[in-house]
Amino acid sequence: MTDITANGEKPSSINLVKVLGPTHVWALGVGIVLVGEFMGWNYSVEKGGALGSIIACWIIGLLYTCVAMIDSEVTSTVAAAGGQYTQAKHTTGPLMAFNVGLYLVLAYTMLEAADIFVFGDLIRIASESLGAEAGMVDARPFVLLAVSALAFLNYRGVFMALSVNFLITAVAFFSIIVLVVAYQFGIFTAEPLQHEGLGMGSLPYGWMGVLASFQFGIWYYLGIEGTCQAAEEVRSCGRSLPLGTMTGMITLLIAAALTWYVCAGSLPWEYLGTALAPLYDSARVSGSTVLIVLLWVGTVFSALASANGCINDAARAWFSMGRDRYLPQFFAAVHPKYRTPYRAIIFLIPIAASFGFLQLLAPTITFSILSGLLGYTFMPINMFRFRGKWPLNTIKRGYIHPFHPIPSLVLLALCAATYIAVFLGFGTQLLAMMVFYIVASVWFVLFRYKYVQRGDQFTMAWPRPKGY
């Protein structure tokens, strides 16, 4: 495979470089998502109470397990950058691929904006804790510095970027474990967890609240499917991707359950539901300086790891779309020395930063969740078409997920329920955001598809699809 540069030629064979292993895949997936345990998931408590939130956590966990199963099978077979976008090209067609590419870019860019917004707030919280006057610290220079450093890391090479992600994600995960162990065994703090005393067994809004909390239940896991973006850069795709994705999913299920357990046992639900950084607050009420500092570091690292992973994934999706001319070819260039999609990386950074700086946090999160959900809705379509066009044993699959079609049907049903939850939360705002994707689709069909080389969209060495 060769890369297409801005002038439309194929002058060289500079490709993305295959240097990643399963730990990097884990670091990419968990790194993007773990911030969801440090902030965001708790809005599901506001929607349905603490008990409603843990029910949503389990049900949405099932949704993501289906996503991971389907993704692992298709990605272990379609080893190319772009993840689900490249899958869509091979199973469904160009327009669907264009939309899936946009879901990926927007879900990750918006999530990155939310990450850097939270990072700025954590800087402010820390400076005020150290004695600065409230409201006097401008966190924006720190945010800009952090984003620039992450962009540079991604520009210089994927191996170092994801190795750093592995380290800081591991520290963040470790901080959750330490907090739970400290509360459970009375280390650093004499405070017990008090689920019963905090009334965690009730559903303040009944089952309607449980349904509504699905909206932010997604935040526990949003982005794990991003592991597929590394497909073109892992050494052994068939082994590393399913291994990294499934261990990542297991890590997140554990982290989500522990996070809920410790926060629900230490914070009143009305507070927990609106907190900016609930794990940090849980450490705060423990009264232990060690835990407070550790959880502040964990929260900062999780935000940086997520932003780092989002830069990586959004750029790969944007790059892939440029390479296929779904977007301007200018973005399809690979750095001759560092072998990274550097133009896509540099282009998307100021966009994410501007979303963060414009204080558009609520619509940004809405857009990120909606884009993720649309992408999950595509996956059952993807799976049915993949198995229909190339039944088992017609092509070599790195991994075959069990129980087909049950995971696809369960995923479709859970996506429908989550759309209702998002409607309950965002109302007709959801419809307004759908207009974006509809207008973009019409634009692609009328003005963009003419630049696309038809036969080049199918790059896998597979036989002709059944029925075509």
Partner: protein
């Protein structure tokens, strides 16, 4: 099948397309805010039997059967009468945790006495779900037409 030769796009055209998409994204973020489209909103809530009245000066007065009263003035100022932790149904454990979060009774009460109202329009829900279903149906239909062109060019006509 003759191989389709796509047009080459000029640099200006590429810049225009990138900017067009960016503008579209910003519009999608800002228009819902400008149009004040919203979903479930929080409203006043008190434990027990609740009564809501509007005073002549526009103040919203919410009271319950235990004598707790919440007043929200037109300028948004909130005040309470007969406010106690017990009236808010907060257990001693909850009270202690609010204290550790540096939140006094009044501040905590402002958070506790707001709850979501999940009533919704069936018409809006059906329209939204129909739009999503229609959007995916169009995507699959149009993509399939394009996919046949891709396969024909890649593998030649005929199966």
């Amino acid at each position: 099948m003759a191989k389709y030769q796509p047009r080459k796009q000029s640099g200006v055209g590429q810049a225009f397309d990138a900017i067009f998409l960016l503008v579209l994204v910003f519009l999608a973020l800002l228009v819902p805010l400008e149009m004040e489209l919203a979903g479930a909103a929080k409203g006043d809530w008190l434990p027990g039997e609740m009564k809501v009245e509007t005073a002549t000066d526009g103040t919203i007065v919410v009271s319950n059967d235990k004598g707790l009263i919440k007043r929200t003035a037109p300028d948004g100022t909130i005040s309470f009468e007969n406010l106690t932790w017990e009236a808010l149904e907060q257990t001693p454990v909850m009270q202690a945790q609010w204290g550790k979060l540096d939140m006094d009774l009044e501040t905590a009460a402002a958070a506790i006495t707001l709850r979501y109202d999940y009533s919704f329009s069936w018409g809006g829900l059906i329209a939204t779900l129909a739009a999503i279903a229609g959007y995916f149906a169009f995507l699959v239909w149009q993509s399939d037409r394009e996919y046949r062109q891709v396969i024909a060019e890649k593998f030649g006509n005929g199966s």
